[in-house]
C-alpha cells in the first residue's frame, strides 16, 4: 500500500462516526451529517439489509422507492443512484458499490406478509417491520408506523421481467461486499438486518452486517 493510500486511510479513521456490527434480526437507527459517508458491509454474503432514510430535520421528508425508481428510469439501485424523498429532494447518493445491484421494490418482510406468502406456520417468525417499529419508536422523536414506508433492500436481488413478472432470487452479493452512500443532507437512517428464513434473500441463513460512518 502506498504512503498516500495509507495516509488517506488513517485520515478517514480519524473521522469515524460509526462502526457497529448488527446481528441478524437486530436493527439500528442513527444520524449521519450532510456530506458524511455511510457504508454497509455484507460480512458473510447474501444478507438483505432493509433500510429507510429520513431527512433528519424533517422526518416527513422521507425516502420514496417509487420516486427514486421513476426519476432514474430504472428499477435497480447501484453506484450513481440518487435516493430521493417523496418531495424529490436527494437524501443520499450511492458512491461505491462492490455488489452491483440492490432492490427497492420488494419492501420489508412482516409477520402478516409472511403468512400471506408462506402460510400460517410463519406467523410468529421474527420479521423486519417489527424491528423497524421497535427502532423507530425507541428513537423517541415521534416516529411510528405511519413513517414506515417502502424501503431499500441492500444486497437483495429482485429481478423484473418484461412481461411484468417479479421474483426474489439468489443474491449477487458475497462475503465482504459493501455499498457506500454519501448523505446529501442530515440523514436519519433506520435499518433492519433481515431475519427472513423463507426465501433466498438471506441465503436461508441470516448473518451479521457491519455499519460504518465517516464525517465529511
Amino acid at each position: 500500500m502506498s504512503t498516500q493510500t495509507l495516509r488517506a486511510q488513517e485520515d478517514r479513521e480519524a473521522r469515524t462516526l460509526l462502526d457497529v456490527e448488527v446481528a441478524p434480526g437486530d436493527g439500528w437507527i442513527g444520524e449521519i451529517p450532510a456530506g458524511g459517508r455511510f457504508r454497509i458491509v455484507d460480512l458473510k454474503g447474501n444478507q438483505a439489509v432493509d433500510t429507510l432514510f429520513f431527512d433528519a430535520r424533517d422526518h416527513a421528508n422521507r425516502y420514496s422507492a417509487v420516486d427514486t425508481v421513476r426519476e432514474q428510469g430504472a428499477v435497480y439501485l447501484t453506484t450513481g443512484s440518487r435516493l430521493l424523498s417523496a418531495r424529490l429532494d436527494p437524501l443520499a447518493t450511492i458512491v461505491d458499490d462492490t455488489c452491483g445491484r440492490h432492490d427497492t421494490l420488494g419492501g420489508a418482510c412482516a409477520q402478516e406478509s409472511n403468512v400471506v406468502r408462506y402460510g400460517e406456520h410463519t406467523r410468529h417468525e421474527h420479521a423486519c417491520r417489527a424491528t423497524f417499529l421497535a427502532q423507530a419508536i425507541g428513537w423517541g422523536k415521534g416516529l411510528d408506523k405511519r413513517d414506515l414506508t417502502h424501503n431499500v433492500n441492500f444486497f437483495m436481488n429482485v429481478p423484473l421481467t418484461t412481461d411484468g413478472g417479479l421474483t426474489f432470487e439468489d443474491g449477487l452479493s458475497a462475503p465482504g461486499k459493501h455499498v457506500e452512500l454519501r448523505a446529501e443532507r442530515d440523514l436519519l437512517i433506520l435499518i433492519s438486518n433481515c431475519p427472513q428464513l423463507n426465501n433466498p434473500c438471506n441465503g436461508y441463513d441470516p448473518t451479521p452486517v457491519r455499519l460504518l460512518g465517516w464525517d465529511e
Binding site: A60, S64, A65, V66, D67, V69, R70, G73, A74, V75, Y76, T78, A86, R87, L88, L105, G106, G107, A108, A110, Q111, E112, S113, N114, V115, V116, R117, G119, R129, K145, R146, D147, T149, H150, V158, P159, L160, T161, T162, G164, G165, L166, T167, F168
Partner: protein, 231 residues
C-alpha cells in the same frame, strides 16, 4: 347500481366503498390515469402496501384477478376485471415538477387549474385526518410503465395505453377508503387528463372458486385474512 360519479380529469376524490361492493372505473377519454390509495375505512393505519401486493403475487404490475393487499396481510380490494392487462404500481404519482407547463393557479384558471396528483391526494388525506406521512406508493390505474429488460432494470412509459371506454373493477373485501387523483401519470409529457366514471354496485361475496381466491395461494390467504376480520 348504487351510484355513479364522474371525476373530472386532473381532480382528486375520495370515497368509502363498503365490503362486497364494487367500483368500476371507466375512462371517459383517452390517456386516463388514476393514482389510487386505499385504507381500511375504520382503522386507516392499515393501508395498501404496493410492495407486499407485488411480491406476494410475483408481479411488477397490477392486473385482474390480483388482490390488493394491506400492510397487515389482508385483502383490501380484488381486481375483479379490466379491459387492460397492465396497471402501473412502481412509478409513483405526479408532483408539481411533473405537471407539463407547471401547476397553474385558481386565480388565473379557476377550476381548470393544473394540479399534481400529490397536491390532490394530500387534500383528500387531510380531510380524513391523515397527511403526508400516510402518502405511500399508489396504483396508477390505466397507465403502463414496463421493464425494458436491460441490466439496470430500465423502465419505459407507454404513451396512450388507455383508450376511451377502458375500465377496471375493484371489489372491496373490507370497508375501504379509496383516494384517487385523475392527474396525468408523472411520466406523461402532455397535460391531457381524462375524466373517469366511478360506478358502484353491490356484488356477491367471493365464493370458494372466485378467480381472485384461486389465482395464487397468496391471494387466497390474503382474502381469508380479510374474511377473519368479519367473522
Amino acid at each position: 347500481m348504487i351510484f355513479s360519479h364522474d371525476v373530472p380529469g386532473g381532480a382528486a376524490w375520495s370515497m368509502i366503498l363498503r365490503r362486497h361492493r364494487a367500483v368500476r372505473l371507466e375512462c371517459l377519454g383517452p390517456g386516463a390515469n388514476v393514482s389510487t390509495l386505499i385504507y381500511a375505512a375504520d382503522r386507516p393505519l392499515e393501508r395498501l402496501n404496493v410492495p407486499d401486493t407485488l411480491k406476494a403475487q410475483m408481479a411488477a404490475r397490477i392486473a385482474a384477478p390480483m388482490v390488493l393487499m394491506s400492510d397487515l396481510g389482508k385483502a383490501l380490494c380484488s381486481v375483479t376485471g379490466s379491459s387492460l392487462t397492465w396497471h402501473d404500481a412502481i412509478s409513483g404519482h405526479s408532483l408539481d415538477a411533473h405537471v407539463p407547463g407547471g401547476p397553474t393557479s385558481y386565480a388565473e384558471h379557476r377550476n381548470d387549474r393544473r394540479r399534481s396528483a400529490r397536491d390532490g391526494l394530500l387534500e383528500e388525506l387531510w380531510k380524513h385526518g391523515l397527511g403526508e406521512r400516510d402518502l405511500h406508493a399508489t396504483v396508477n390505474f390505466f397507465s403502463k410503465v414496463a421493464p425494458t429488460g436491460d441490466e439496470r432494470g430500465g423502465l419505459a412509459f407507454v404513451h396512450g395505453h388507455a383508450r376511451t371506454g377502458d375500465w377496471v373493477e375493484l371489489r372491496a373485501e373490507q370497508d375501504v377508503l379509496i383516494m384517487l387523483s385523475t392527474a396525468p401519470h408523472p411520466l406523461a409529457t402532455a397535460w391531457s387528463p381524462a375524466a373517469v366514471r366511478a360506478t358502484v354496485r353491490a356484488v356477491p361475496a367471493p365464493g370458494p372458486d372466485d378467480p381472485s381466491r384461486v389465482f395464487r395461494d397468496e391471494s387466497g390467504r390474503a382474502l381469508a385474512e380479510a374474511e377473519r376480520t368479519y367473522q
